[in-house]
Every structure is written in C-alpha cells, then in structure tokens.
C-alpha cells in the first residue's frame, strides 16, 4: 500500500467520483467540488502562461504590434463587468464568430466536402466500391430536408439511414473499447499505485 499522501488523496477522490454509480452522496459532492475548483484554477494559470504570455505579450515584446488588436478585443470582453459599456463586449464576440464562420466555411468545404468526394470517386469494379458509393448517395438523400421523404426519395433515405446506423454500430463498439481502457487505467491506479496489489 502506498505511503504517498498524494496517492491517498487521488484514490479518495477517484472513489468519491465512482461512488456516483451508487447515488449522489456527500463524498461525490466533495470530490466534484474539488475537481471543478482545481480545474478552474488550473485553466486560469494555464491560459496565462500558455496563451496570454507567449501569444500576446511575447509577440508584443518582439515588436509585432498588430497583436495589440487581439489584446484590445480581449479587454473588450471584460467590459461586460461594467454595465454602462458592456455592449462593447459584443464587438469582440462578433469578431470571433465572424472570423470563425468565415475560416470554417473554407476548411469544411475542403475537408468535409472536396476530400470526401475525392475519396468516393472510385471505379465501379468491386462490391466494396459500389457499396461505398450507394452508401454515400443514399446517406446524402437522407439529409435532404426540403423534400418529403416519400416514394423513391423515401426509399433511398431509408437505405441511407440503415447505412448510417450500421456505421454507428461499428463506431459504438470501437469507442466503447477506448472507454474501457480509461476505466482500466483508473483501476490500475487503485490496485497498483494505491493498494500495491498489482505489480
């Protein structure tokens, strides 16, 4: 069994969070509050040293003055705390949403449309390729919103949702395995690092 106080605290908090599987209880509440509080403080410090210091102050020190625009927009966000000039924070938010939407438009068009289409353009010489093309086309038809899913369109949409559900099933199994590995990591911590039962 570990003699490290840090390991004991971590084990207590792990068990506290896991106790939620039984029901909401004081141990869970304590663990949850510590988790949220520590993470808030951690991210606050992380942002200062990994975002504000290198990206803003670091660049300003190098004489890249146009980074000051980002700094001003950041300060404008804080104007929400002063009701009289709180409206100024909307400018910063509008800037972020606008740039985000504009940049993502092109990025998504390239990665989610062009590259996917390029990957689908395969010769119709194997069952696998034909299945892929049929799956993509019927899947796209399922996401037609401005036409009623009746007749031929309805039939194709039904085939499309089957393709989608089968792929979700495969994804489900794959992701569950990844989650199990997270659980194994915690169990290993409890039985090895804390209790010393596994070596």
């Amino acid at each position: 069994m570990s003699t490290d106080i840090g390991v004991w605290i971590a084990a207590f908090l792990t068990l506290g969070i896991l106790s939620f599987l039984y029901k909401d209880n004081p141990f869970y509440k304590v663990s949850e509050s510590i988790f949220i509080g520590v993470s808030a403080a951690y991210w606050f410090v992380y942002m200062i040293y990994n975002v504000i210091e290198p990206n803003l102050l670091g660049n300003l020190q190098k004489g890249e003055w146009w980074y000051a625009v980002a700094g001003i927009l950041g300060v404008m966000m804080l104007f929400r705390l002063i009701p009289k000039i709180g409206w100024l924070s909307r400018w910063a938010v509008a800037f972020m949403i606008g740039t985000g939407a504009g940049l993502n438009f092109i990025v998504y068009l390239q990665s989610n449309v062009m590259k996917q289409i390029r990957g689908t353009l395969a010769p119709l010489n194997s069952i696998g390729n034909i299945m892929m093309i049929v799956g993509v086309i019927t899947g796209l038809i399922y996401f037609f919103f401005s036409a009623e899913h009746k007749g031929l369109l309805g039939g194709a949409a039904k085939v499309g949702i089957w393709f989608i559900m089968v792929s979700f099933g495969a994804s489900f199994g794959y992701t569950v395995m990844a989650r199990i590995s997270l659980l194994i990591g915690r169990m290993h911590f409890l039985f090895s690092d804390w209790l010393g039962l596994l070596h």
Binding site: I17, A40, M96, M114, L124, I137, F172
Partner: protein
C-alpha cells in the same frame, strides 16, 4: 605411454582441430588487416542541379530548395548519410545550417526566412567528410493572394453562395419553402411543457467547443428558440457553460429570447454560468446538477466528446426527457442509445431553420439540398469516369495544400 605426435588415434581428432584453428587465425588476421586499412576519406560527390525558389501558393516566409541527389547516395560508393541545407544573406557571406534531411531526400522548405529579402543557398552532402554544391540565389520569399491549387474550391464557393442568395431572396419574397419534420424538434414544445407541469427546470448543454465552432453557433440559435418557449411557459432554464465566451453569448441569446417573449423581468443571468473548462470536471458538475435539480428535460446540442455518454446516461437514470444533437460522429451512437430524440449531423443544423422558419435559414437549407443533389451527380459521374480511367475529371477534386 605413447608420446608420438602422429599416432593413429591422435591423428583422428587433430585432423579436425588443426584446420579449425588455422581458419580462426586467418579470420583474426583478416579482421586486423581490415581494421588497419585506411578509412575512405574521399568526400561524397556533391548534390547537383540545386534550385531555390519562393514556395508557390503560400502566405510567404517560405523558400523551397530542391537538388539532385549525390551520385554516392544510394549508388556509387553509397556513403552519403544526409544533407545539410546552408543559407546566407550574401553570396560570399557566412553560410549557416538551417536544416538537415536524411539521405534519399532531395527537397527542403526553409520556413524561417523573411519576405522580400535576398537569400543564397547551398546543399552539403555528408559522410565522415562533406562536399558542398555550388551556391544558388539570390531568392526572395513572398506571399500570394491566390492559391492556384484551390480554384475548384473557389468554384464550389461561388456556386453555393449563388444558390444561397437565390433561395434566401426567394424565401424573402414569400415563396414557401418546405422543411421536412425533424422529430427531435417537434418534441421541444412537449419537453418544455412537461418541465412546466412538473415544476422542474430545463437543462441546456451547449457542448464543449468554442464560439467559432459551427456546432456551437447552431446550438446557440436553438437555445434562443428554447429560451423563448421557456419564457412563455414561465419555466426555469439552466445553462452551465464549458467555455466562458460561449457563456457570454448564451447570456445575450437568452436575455433577447426573454425580451421577445415579453418577459424580460423573468430573465435571471445567474442561471447561465461558467462551470469548468476541464472536460470531466464539467461532466461531474453537470451530473450533480441533473440529480440535485431533478431537471425534467435535458438538451445536449453542440460539439461533444468522451463525456457524452456520462451526461446522457445520468439524465436517463434521472428520468429526464432528453434531446441531443451533434455532428460529432463518434458520439452520436451514445446519444442515440441513451436519449429520447437525437438530431444526427446535419439535422442538428437544419433544426434551427425548422424551429424559426426564418427566410434566411430556410433559403440556406434549400440551397444546401441543391448542393447535395449536385454532389450526388458528381459522385455518379465520377464513378463512371473512374471505371474508364478518365483521371482528369477525378483529379479536379484534388485540393492543393
């Protein structure tokens, strides 16, 4: 005792041992001679045909250097271990190594240069000794306004934008645009009504992404519609946020929704608060809220990651009506298994248009459908062209980096 060296019996094994001993001695001699032989001190032949040019279709500050491999790289004496790329700001000036590549590679991009400044390069083939190529230059880096490899993207943008403008204008002029029913969105009124009847709050999760994410923007649009319904029904809406900027926007959206519903006095800013920017701390916090506040309805709309099942399963245990929507493909199966309604991918984006019936959103939905029809046509055509090895058509969709 027989002391003779070559007796019949002794000869038998000595015949075996002596040749073996002689072989070992010879081997040792050969090794010693080889170890003492002089090292090949001749330098490898230098790289040839070195070219340096401004990297095309980029934002600048980048120069590409190409060369022909040394004749001793993979052939000849095959002694080249790698290449150093040397740079100077004058032809006779001091050259400094700015990068290295292993043998067999004949290109390098120098991304530590300034625009509109002269640079000279040479490439050094390395072994125990080295030999330099002739100096090339001057070359300058500069940015380009137009990426020639992305012309096809521009064509798509122009066509799609034209479709959106056309259909939005049509919708504005009063043309009725049909949007097929989306089951999850039809359930919004029922879910808000149920919460009101039960006297319990509604929980709205905006996902774990930033304000720049399209999923978050779509979720905020739906939040506005849900908040309006909540204000009309005089229920309580709880919005714990993962991102502080998303929280700021959510507060504005909900405030406006209450104003639209004619209930600005019912708006309580403290019900939209920042919880945590740590994924599982946030999940732990939301789980606690679900059980303590006994939320009647939970909305999970936005971008989600590994916490999706933790949240949805807790809501399921708590007996809440749950409506989820995301474009995170790996999380959708979890929502489908644990929520009452799930908006799959683009259904989530269409939901805001479906709820609001705004001409702008309806027009864009119609334009997207036409876009999808166009893509289907291209896929069918592409399939046939690929079958007949007509690669020119297929390569049209290869986008440059």
């Amino acid at each position: 005792m027989d002391t003779r060296f070559w007796t019949k019996e002794k000869c038998k094994w000595r015949r075996k041992v002596l040749p073996l001993t002689a072989f070992i001695i010879l081997l040792a001699l050969w090794g010693t001679i080889r170890a003492q032989s002089p090292v090949d001190t001749l330098p490898p032949s230098p790289p040839t045909e070195v070219t340096a040019f401004d990297t095309p279709n980029d934002a600048g500050k980048n120069i590409t250097i190409n060369w022909k491999l040394s004749t001793d790289d993979g052939a000849g004496r095959n002694i080249v271990k790698g290449y150093d790329i040397l740079r100077s700001e004058s032809q006779e000036g001091k050259f400094e190594v700015v990068g290295s590549v292993v043998a067999g590679i004949s290109t390098f991009q120098d991304d530590k240069v300034k625009n509109r400044r002269n640079y000279f390069y040479k490439v050094r083939a390395k072994d125990h000794t080295s030999s330099d190529s002739p100096t090339v230059g001057p070359v300058q880096a500069s940015g380009q306004w137009y990426h020639k490899g992305k012309t096809v993207v521009l064509i798509f943008v122009v066509i799609f934008t034209a479709l959106v403008i056309y259909f939005v204008e049509s919708a504005k002029k009063g043309k009725k645009l049909y949007v097929r029913p989306i089951p999850g969105m039809d359930a919004v009124d029922e879910a808000v009504g149920r919460a009101t009847e039960m006297g319990r709050p509604i929980l709205y999760i905006l996902g774990l992404s930033t304000i720049s994410d399209v999923a978050t923007i779509a979720s905020l649009t739906i939040l506005g519609r849900v908040a309006k319904k909540v204000a009309e029904f005089q229920s309580k809406l709880l919005v714990p946020c993962y991102n502080p900027i998303v929280m700021t926007v959510a507060q504005e959206v909900v405030k406006n929704a209450y104003l639209d519903a004619g209930r600005p006095d019912s708006y309580d800013e403290s019900n939209i608060w920042f919880l945590s920017s740590s994924q599982f701390a946030y999940a732990a916090g939301v789980n606690g809220i679900m059980l303590r506040e006994k939320t009647a309805t939970n909305f999970y709309l936005g971008m989600f990651y590994a916490e999706s099942l933790i949240l949805a399963e807790t809501g399921n245990i708590a007996g809440s009506i749950q409506i989820a929507g995301t474009d995170a493909v790996t999380q959708l199966p979890f929502f489908i298994t644990s929520c009452d309604y799930t908006l799959i991918g683009e259904e989530f984006y269409a939901a805001s248009a479906y709820l609001s019936r705004e001409p702008k959103l309806l027009g864009s939905i119609k334009a997207q459908d036409w876009g999808k029809a166009g893509l289907i046509a291209l896929i069918i055509l592409g399939g046939f062209f690929a079958s007949f090895h007509f690669d020119t058509f297929i390569n049209l969709f290869t986008v440059g980096h």
